[in-house]
Symmetry: D2
Subunit: 334 residues, 4 copies
């Protein structure tokens, strides 16, 4: 939430009423995150969801899965809007959720109300939603890269492979030896191969977009860097399509989207070009030797992949310009 706090503090239409915490109750925000000295020195308070719902227009949750669905009620949602940055309301199908998250879902009734907050594709629904499920970081990058191609039927839906690479900030702050500097510095690894929980989320949304059932292979990797996600995506393509055809497909859906940048031919996204911003950069290459289309998508996992998109969702929910508070230019080198 620290990145969300940072963005919200610079948002012209937001006033931060409460910062709740489980670990830091009574501590000032800047004592937890020294970057906020002289900027935000509010005390972290215990969560009192009823009181907060009464006094706030919007609550952001960022909790381990299972917790939000347990405590959220229609009554709360009648008083305030909610954006859940966690995973509880991303999967519409209770069974799929329970299979991948290996726990029961206690908020089935709210599942129907909730909207998957991928702003570029679900804006019309987000507008009127009370409960928005902010997409996962890998999911955001993957769906944005693939959706136009599936919607326009230019790739073989059964051939999709997503090889994604993430910086370590995606892993959160829970104590974990495998996140120690010496464990993840100067090395790269694949993890949760073919079993990462963003897989059904990607499939669900690509299915929603294209109307077809999708099963794909998703492999996340941990890269020794703080931020950024790069998704290298492979799909079979009809041999008669060329660069311009694909480009036109992307333009059709993204030309008017402020946070999507299609790279010029032969230029591919790098995570450094989006760091600190809400952009998703997309590039692609046709491999004529194999009829594979290789798509590369890049986002800042903490911004477009989490806090930034959460603010974009808020803007849409409250009728603000989508870009408000999100105009930071990518910073390089940082």
């Amino acid at each position: 939430m620290e990145e969300l706090t940072r963005i919200l503090l610079q948002h012209p239409d937001v006033e931060l009423s409460y910062s709740t915490s489980q670990s830091y109750i009574g501590k000032k925000y800047n004592e937890v995150y020294e970057n906020f000295n002289k900027i935000f020195e509010q005390e972290c308070v215990e969560e009192n969801i009823e009181e907060i719902a009464d006094k706030s227009d919007l609550i952001y949750f960022a909790l381990p899965h299972g917790l939000v669905s347990n405590k959220l009620t229609s009554e709360i949602l009648s008083k305030t809007k909610v954006i859940d940055i966690g995973a509880d309301f991303r999967l519409k199908d209770k069974k799929t959720y329970e299979e991948w998250y290996e726990t029961e879902h206690h908020g089935e009734s709210l599942l129907k109300e909730s909207v998957y907050g991928l702003c570029e594709w679900e804006k019309h629904k987000i507008k009127d939603a009370s409960l928005v499920a902010n997409p996962g970081c890998y999911a955001t990058c993957s769906i944005l890269s693939l959706a136009p191609l599936l919607k326009e039927n230019v790739i073989d839906k059964d051939s999709i492979i997503i090889d994604a690479k993430s910086g370590v900030s995606g892993e959160g702050r829970t104590l974990n030896l495998s996140l120690h500097f010496t464990e993840c510095n100067e090395t790269i690894k694949a993890y949760k191969i073919a079993s990462h929980r963003h897989t059904p989320e990607i499939e669900q949304e690509l299915c929603a977009v294209s109307g077809k059932e999708i099963n794909l292979t998703f492999t996340p990797h941990l890269v020794p860097m703080n931020r950024g996600i790069l998704a290298t995506i492979y799909a079979k393509i009809s041999s008669d399509l060329n660069y311009e055809d694909i480009k036109n497909v992307y333009h059709k859906y993204y030309a008017d989207k402020p946070f999507i940048r299609l790279m010029r031919e032969e230029i591919y996204p790098e995570t450094k070009w989006v760091k600190g911003s809400n952009y998703c950069d997309i590039g692609f290459k046709l491999d004529k030797r194999t009829n594979n289309l290789i798509i590369v998508g890049a986002i800042d996992n903490m911004i477009k992949g989490a806090a930034g998109q959460a603010v974009q969702n808020m803007n849409i929910m409250f009728g603000l310009d989508e870009k408000t508070g999100l105009n930071a230019i990518p910073v390089f080198p940082i």
Copy 2:
């Protein structure tokens, strides 16, 4: 200048008229720095100093030493203000300049006019200046950490040792094997020991502040990170001074300075807490066993140590609020 461009584009009172370049003439800005796609796509043009002076209120120079003093004239300065991010006008003494930079200085007459742009200490002069010499990155961090102590006479002026550590972005973009990733990753080194060109700059300004001649030892180090400068500074102190005494000295000079943050007791600056911002964080510890005062200062070398301070100088020169365009909150982790 890329970082300056980024900040200026987000400055409410600035319009960027020209981006000149020696290497990229005719290229669009976003083709050189892909982070500027959809944001700033102006073409880089050849420098035509007369034309630019005619049409602009301010010119920023960021050139290797020797070049600005060669081309700058009083005539140009009569048409436009100038901030030189390079080193040509930092040292007031021509001889000192020529000794440390091993080259003749061709702009002696302008040297007298120029103002050393350390905003927290020279604001009154910067206000009316036509030519401001933007301080060096190490110099900014070192002077800000030391000046109050010398001004108030609490440290032995002959005992000062500055052990500074910088990220690699401080080295610029000139082709250089020693800046290759594999050369500077996973290692730390001291360089230009007791011979770095920021030494006389620090001494000059500390002398200006305190009225005493200063000779100090300065050792820069290269640290495997993109950004940030940490200066660990040592000076002998009278044994009867305590924490509160030192704290009061800093408060006296910095309580009203928006970009200086004094850390709480036992909390010390880390470069990560200032990254992406114009802050200079300062902390200190008394070593009662040796009567050394250890001061730690931290800045983002690209912002407070270069582009940010250059914008702060501009704000002051044009009567704007010093903080305009510089309100970015430090980003963590990035």
Copy 3:
């Protein structure tokens, strides 16, 4: 060659006669690489291939492509053995070479004599070879991971996708802005998508092993770390195969190979576990939802991917135990 020098100096059966150089003639080795102080202080000399061939049993070349094929002759090969760490003799087909390397090949007659030095698969030929082409780093990792599966026909040969990630040391020491620390630190990118020169090398050797023509998609990525290659490889597999089947295929070919380590089930290679060693670690996972087999291979690109394999080739060529001088245990964390 610096890594090769390090390994050779610790090899019990090797005496280093000459270190030639184009850039450092007359300099001592330890003046170029300070890690060799007190260890190897021989002067770098100009290359005199005839003289060296007369006096040495083996010459290692590590030159940009085109140079070795230009100067190497049968006469030289009649006097000394040669291991070419560069690319000139890796591709057996002159036309394929010229297409991918965009330059003429001037050593066609020697192409036939040369042996592709992938020790685990070509040992019988390497034994008697005078000219060995040391495989490329990506190629080594990819072929070792795939060859048993293709030889045993368990994967669909037309479905292979290799998504490879490399540390920056693979890029060499030629001056290059894109290799500067600040350009490749804290970011990841794909490059030479579907056009990297190791592609035909991988295809050639997999064809040699399996007897079938192979066309595959290969995407290299640059990762902010010094060393290591991780190849994540995807291929379609018959739905009736299970974990044990695949494991048995690998065991059949690699159980007796000292430098191949098959990971335990659910454990996947990470580059940190092989750093500083000549090992290639291999793990795999079946994705039952898509019938993709995901294979992960990891090597130290500087050792098994270059200097280590070059020494392994030498050992085989001279009838030594393959492991001589290559028994270094992977170092962690380094």
Copy 4:
């Protein structure tokens, strides 16, 4: 101990009888550290100090302070030699220990027997010792850099400032948020300023060498890299000394020391030049403007600063060549 295991496994005269563990009892060594696959697959056992003492010639301890002094007895030492890599027997003065470690010392009788294992200075005592206290990493680098100068009286003993920088591996593997990748990557900080426990250790040994009481200022820093310590040391020097004088002092003590390398004039140590080796590199510069001598020392904190020196101590204790098993050449870039 993992690094010690690696070195001992490559030592020609050592057989590893037991690997004890508190956290991993019953696990195979290679399941804890996957780099040991196929190399060392012994099971980790519970510590049974009596049994181990009976069957082993040497026990290495690497435990948090307080634990070894609690369990070690003269009886055990009558059966086996001991090298304590921890801190319990480094400080000869019980009171100093208790002050800096804030805990009682329960092994006072053994304190007198124990020898401080800085091989280059205490070899004559180590030879006959049963209990050797392996020096701390910062202490090793600092003492080696300073001892000759103090012994020869060329620096002012009251002016010493040690500004040390360490990679993160020095912090061990105990779960700790501040050691998470995102917390210590891309930042530098000072910590335990003027209060680090290696301070009295450095002072004690410099006193032992020079016969004078020493009080110095020591500031450690955490650098975003896995390995390496760089100590930048400042001391006042008489103005009539020159480069050659200092060089001669170092030569007098270190010319015959296999693991000390004095750099050439104007060349300074970098941690990358010693990584993976037992070397300590030393360079220095006279600052004629301030009469400060700046000494730079570098070691691999895991080797000369811990496991390597522990093996060097063992070699000396058992009458082996000091260098046995420690001939690894520094690896670059790694």
